[in-house]
């Protein structure tokens, strides 16, 4: 079982609220990722980080932002949530090295914006 945690697991909020989705890992991995999984199951990379103070946007444009102040922590923030942000958000980590290393996924946060 991978040691990567996401909180909350489920969140229902109203439009316009600011929210932060937490992601933490205890494996000391340098690389971390955020994916958005839509109802059709497909996963889209929205943010990634290769180390402390390093963050990049992914392939899918997202209004969310991320930070990486500590190796183990990679929170995702939405300043003003909208119904279009309703989705499942998955966090993943990967150890240092090449892309041949597998990613470890957290259990996900299912976000519903009313």
């Amino acid at each position: 079982e991978a040691d990567i945690y996401q909180t909350p697991r489920y969140l229902v909020i109203g439009t316009g609220k600011k929210i932060t989705l937490e992601c933490s890992q205890t494996m000391g991995h340098d690389k971390m990722y955020w994916y958005q999984q839509d109802p059709g199951m497909e996963l889209h990379l929205i943010h990634y980080s290769y180390g402390v103070n390093s963050t990049e946007k992914g392939d899918l444009s997202s209004e969310s932002t991320v930070s990486r102040i500590r190796t183990e922590h990679f929170p995702l923030t939405l300043e003003s949530a909208r119904p279009s942000h309703t989705s499942q958000y998955l966090c993943a980590s990967q150890e240092r090295g090449g892309p041949y290393n597998e990613q470890f996924f957290g259990p996900g946060t299912r976000l519903t914006v009313l």
């Binding site: 990567i4 996401q6 199951m41 497909e42 996963l43 392939d59 892309p99 041949y100 990613q103 996924f105």
Partner: protein, 114 residues
């Protein structure tokens, strides 16, 4: 740009019968290929990967996959399916041009009937 295709949205199989989930990929250069499984309300779990060498890769829970370079395929197989194998299966690929960023297929839902 790299891409991964899983041509079947759903695969139905009777318990005890062989299970195959199809995947084809398009990446530049030599690919690294992965299979992940997702159970309800859970994150993705790593099953197996192909890096180099033997085209037949064995993974967790009795699954295996065969890398076929000429057909650019990486089909997932299990000789005898269990009801507990019912889940979502994702194929993923990464090539040198994309750095560390995985591209996922759209997912295939497997339903194993008793």
């Amino acid at each position: 740009a790299q891409s991964v295709a899983q041509p079947e949205d759903q695969v139905n199989v009777a318990e005890g019968n062989p299970l195959t989930v199809k995947c084809t990929y398009s990446v530049s250069g030599n690919p690294y290929l992965f299979w992940y499984v997702q159970y309800p309300n859970r994150g993705l779990q790593f099953l197996l990967k192909y890096i180099t060498g033997d085209n037949l890769v064995k993974g967790s829970y009795g699954f295996e996959a065969e890398f076929n370079k000429s057909q650019t395929s990486f089909h997932l197989k299990k000789p005898s399916a269990l009801v507990s194998d019912s889940a979502l299966y994702f194929c993923a690929a990464v090539g040198k041009a994309a750095g560390n960023k995985l591209t996922f297929g759209g997912g295939t839902r497997v339903l194993v009937k008793p």
